[in-house]
Structures are given as structure tokens and as C-alpha cells.
């Protein structure tokens, strides 16, 4: 990914990105270990009770080694209704986040 502090990074942050774009950016940042981007997106993402955002917070916490948060969110994700568990980022988190 481009550097967070580069002119291109600044230009990207200046775009009024939609929530799907932000979530995609968040996952890319986590996948490539670009935590400055990941932290920035986390601060933009709302609402907090959206299952996909919750899932990304879980992946984010896992990337930060915050096992307590991972455990809490995984418990929540596992108890979501099936349609919500089927959402893209929720599936991703449930499939890839190691049990703390």
C-alpha cells in the first residue's frame, strides 16, 4: 500500500469515501500490516454496531495483539443471527481470527 504520509495517501484521505470503500481499505491495511492506515480507517468507520465494522475491529484487535478485545468481539460475532454472520467481513473474521 502507499505510505500513509505520502501525497497520494493524503489525496486518498481527502476523498469522501463511502463506508464500503473504507471497510475495503481497512481490510487491505490490516492484510498488509499498514497499521497507520488501519488506525485511520478505524477512526472513520461508523456506526459501531454494524456487524461488518465489528468484524473489522476484531481483525484489527488481532493485528494489534489485543486478545481481550478479540475474545469479546468473537463472542459477539459468533452469536449474531445467521444472515449477519454471512456478511463478508464477519465471515472473514470468523474464519481467520485465531482463538485467543
Amino acid at each position: 500500500m502507499i505510505a500513509f504520509d505520502s501525497p497520494e495517501g493524503e489525496a486518498l484521505r481527502a476523498i469522501d469515501l463511502s463506508q464500503p470503500a473504507l471497510l475495503a481499505l481497512w481490510l487491505s491495511a490490516l492484510n498488509s500490516g499498514q497499521m497507520d492506515w488501519a488506525h485511520w480507517v478505524q477512526a472513520q468507520a461508523a456506526p459501531k454496531d454494524d456487524p461488518n465494522i465489528l468484524a473489522l475491529r476484531c481483525l484489527h484487535a488481532a493485528a494489534c495483539g489485543d486478545t481481550q478485545v478479540v475474545r469479546l468481539i468473537m463472542t459477539l460475532l459468533k452469536t449474531l443471527p445467521a444472515p449477519q454472520r454471512a456478511q463478508f467481513y464477519v465471515r472473514k473474521a470468523l474464519a481467520t481470527t485465531p482463538a485467543p
Partner: protein, 626 residues
Amino acid sequence: MTKPPEFQEIIVLAMGRSGTNLLLENLRNLQGNIGLFEIFSPGTLGSLENHPAFFERLQANLGRSYMGQSDPALLERVLADQIGYFDILSRTAQEMGFQSISCKIFPTQASPAMLQHLLARPNVRILMLTRRRIDRYLSRKKGVLTQEYIGRETTNVLLDFDLTNCLTDMSQSDRDLAAFLDCAQGSGRPLAILGYERDLDQPDDLRHAAITAALAEIGVTQTLGSAVAPDWLPKQDKSPDWRHKVKDGFAAASALVGLGLLDYVESAPLMDLLPSRSTGALSKAQIRPAATLTAGNRGKLGQRGGYFESLGRDPLVTVTAIQDHQSILAEWMIGPEPAFAARKGVHFLRATWSMETQPLDALADRLRLAELDNPGHIFVALHVNAVEAENYRKSGIRSILGSSALFTDETLWASDAPPLSAIPKANAVMIAGLADWKNHHLAALLGPVHFIYAAPSKAQMDRVLALCPQAHMVNHILGKGQHLYLDAAQIAGVFSRSKLSLALSFEEGAHRGSMESLLAGLPVVSVAALGGRDAFYSDDNALIVAPNAQAVRDGVDQMVARRLTRAQVRKATLALLLPARHAFEQAANAVIQDHLGPLAPHLRVRDLVGLSRNYRKLADMTAGLQ
């Protein structure tokens, strides 16, 4: 007396350039439906003039005559009271005996408040249509550039790509569609979502099935006569890859990768949010009951065991084995009816035995037959080297470079697994069944050696113990005299009691034990062999010796003397494995894209890692695909 069906108002909510004309044109073929297009367009009330009798009656109900569907007075009237106009449209259709009315609305044509009112009508049924962001965006840009939104072929029109404009436009579309979705869900009216690529940009029969399924989902039960692409609506851009629609597609794609947003632009909105219908659309309408599939020969073949993996349901992407000279999946698919109804698929086949010397014509015939019985499905073998590739090519079997060894899970085979204290130390470990062809006799001069094996016969045990009397028969030691099947952790524990591993067969498959021990950091002493295990050998992790017991003993001594650390060996192995995985992923996705088009699922090797330890029945895989 049967109650007449309730009049239904089918409203399509979508962004422009999503394929709405094709959908609305097809809805005109819905029995008893009056098919309109944009009912709130500021420029022209599309398609009213296609229904002269309806337009005449509409004008009567509106209380005056107009010059046509583009009459400014009519447009002004509509804009002044959209709800009232829709009410009159609906009433007119009912008076004329229609069972339903269909129309479309774009985000700029209705405020959220108006839309909430409109969707609150009791007989409203909602269809939403979505399309891949990048293709919709480029279609719109081409429309703006050429000022021709229908009819003109634009395949050769290449656009300048403006990244900021692209992301801004897509983000706005996301918000518009999210607002539509909020209104639609908030109304509580039946809602179904169609995907342009998945449901509409398809052969006529598949498009028909998809629209029929979506209509059924929202409670519309009238018959859809046909779902053809009409002559007046030809596909404007025939390029399957968006990179070919812009001037420097590679640079544009690279820039998007750099931003971490390529997947985003190549996906469609809403499909992520509402996957509930997802691949079920076609299957509900077209896939035969599971009972039919598991009957007869398919039922028996479904009980066969192997390493079967599916990565996508619609379209299908599978990775299964060629075992005993046949593909069980292909055999299972051969039959009078397609195994997966209308869905397409790419089926990768990895051989469990070297294909360098195998006659392949019989296999090729069966694969061809399975493809003929299942239109839209192809089989692609994995070749481990150029000789296998040539052998496949001569038989007419497609193949790409790949090996079962690629799917070995490196996380299971750490170089610091705790040693199993019940097992004494030895220089070498050999994972191999006790069959003759595994060549245990080549280990006869090694003294103590660990043998790990599948359940043997007594004769096999006796023979091997006669050849290698000092061998540690690990499965029986851990099983306290009985054969114990070892899990990965136990095998890793034995590895930690060993300095290297042996691979002594002259011919077999990719040799799982060889890759597992390499990833655990044990160098391999091997004889030259067919099957492809040497693809992951280098001077830093392996030694190939002559096929005699003396050479094997010397090779073991030589390798032990090198004192390679387990971390070194693992690193050298990963240096070969990871690029090979990447190359396979590239080649596999090229095949998938070529066969299934730009919306094809992306195969990721990491989803296949661990496959070599996931033994199951074929039916366990196919059940999940029905």
C-alpha cells in the same frame, strides 16, 4: 370462485448504467404486466409511447392531452406530484386489466421522503439491481463521452482514468444505493437484489432463471415469457476486462492495488450487505433435488474418499484428485443430466501419482465426457514438471504448473515442535506405508530409524523389521503394540526426535511427508524419483543419492555432518514454496477468468492450504454445492 391475483407494483431501484434497460425490457415479457421504464425522468417518460392505448387512457385519467412522453407540460405535472402521478399510472393499468406494472427509479429522480411514501404503498414489490463498481463507472463515463447511452458499440473507446474521480463517483453511488436500501428495507415490502454480471449478463436461459427466481422472491408469480437481450439493446462494451476499457489499464489497476482498493472497485455494492439470495437464485429455480443427484452411480461415487475442496458455489471452483487413474469428480458428473444444473465451473485436478509415465487417453476421454454432459464446466490438471505437461498436452488435457505439495500447511510444521519423549532419538525419520515400493530396504544400513506408516499387514511389518531390525516402528510404539494413527502434532513430535527425513520411493505423487518434514526443518535424503517432490529440493535442504543402501547411509552421514539448523531448512523450503504458490495462484486465476469472465471468484492458495490433510467423502463436498 378463485380470487383474482392482487395487482402488483414492481419498482426497480438502481443506479443508471447498471443494466436496468435490459431488466425492464425483460419485465415487459411478464404475463399481464405493463412494462414501463423511467417514470420520473426529467427528460422523457420512457416507453409510454410504446403503449399507445395505455398512454391514451393515462391522459384521460390525468384530465388532459399531452404532445407525447416528452411534453414539458407532462414532465412538469409529474415533477409537481410524483406520488399522485404514480397513483394514476397504477390505477390506469388496473382499469385496463393488467396484473402488474413495472418501472424504474434512479437516485436523482426521487427524494428519500418521496420514495418512503411511494414504497409504503401496499402492493409494491422492490427489485434492486447492482453492478460491479468499475464497470458501471466506466460505462457511465463512456456514455458521457460519446453522448450515446444505448445502441452504439463502445468497445474501442478508451477512457482516461482519473483515480480521484473514480473513487468519488463510486463512493457517491454507494451512498445512493445505501439510501435506496434503507428506504426499501424500511418499507417492509418484499425486496430482491439482482446482480448485473451474475444474473443479467448471461445467456438467455440463465437470465430468465435469475429474473424468475428474483420475482418469485418478491411474490410475483406471473410467468416470465422470455428474457432475451433485444436487438435495440446490444451490449455496448464487449471487453470482458475493465483494464481494456481505459488507456493504461495496467497502471490504473496498479494504482488501485497501491491504495488497497482494487477488490473494492471490482466488486458490486449491496452484494456484500445482502448476500441472502446470493447464489441461491439459480439453484432454487434450476438445480435438481439432492435426492436425484445422490441416486444410482452418483450415490456410490459420492461415497469415495479423497482430498476434495470447493472454493466457490456459483460459479463452482473445485480442487480434487486424480486417483487410481481417474477423477472421481468427473466420473460423478457424467450422466444424462448436468450435475450442477446451469452453473458453470472450473475443476482443478491434482494427481496423487506421477503422470509422467501414465497413459492418459482414458482419463482424457472421461474428462471430455464429463465436460460434454456438463456444459460450462472444464477440468484443468496440475502438472509438476515439463514432462507431465507434455503428457497432458498430448492427451488434450489442459494443465497448469502446480503440485499437491503447495497446499501443505506450514503452520502445522513448526521447526520447534516439542519432541515426543516416548520416542528415542534417531538420525532419520521416514513417513511411508510399509509397501515394497516405498523401498525401506534402502534404509537397511542406517541402524536406528523412525518409521511412520499407515496400518500395515503383519507380513509387511515382518518384512520391514527383517530388513531394518533396529527401526523404531513409531505407530506401534505410541500405540503400545497396536497401530496408532498419528496426528500432525504427534508426527511433528517425532520430527523433533530426528535430524533428517528419508524419501526412498522411485515413483509416487508429490510426497506429502517430504514437504511436511522440510517445513518442520528436517532436510531430506532422497533418491531420484518421479512425482515432483524434487521441485522443492535445493542444495540448502536436500540431497539426492544413488538408489542403494550404501549411498543412502553415506548421504545421511553427509547431511548430518552439515549440521543445518531446522530454521535454515525451513527457510530454504519456504523460499521455493511461496513463489510456487504465487505462480500457481496466478495461473489458476488466469484460467478461471478466461473461462468464467471478469466476475469469476478469485482463487487464493491460502484457502487450499491444509487440503492435504482434509480427507473426506466426495458427497461431503458435493452436498455443500447443491
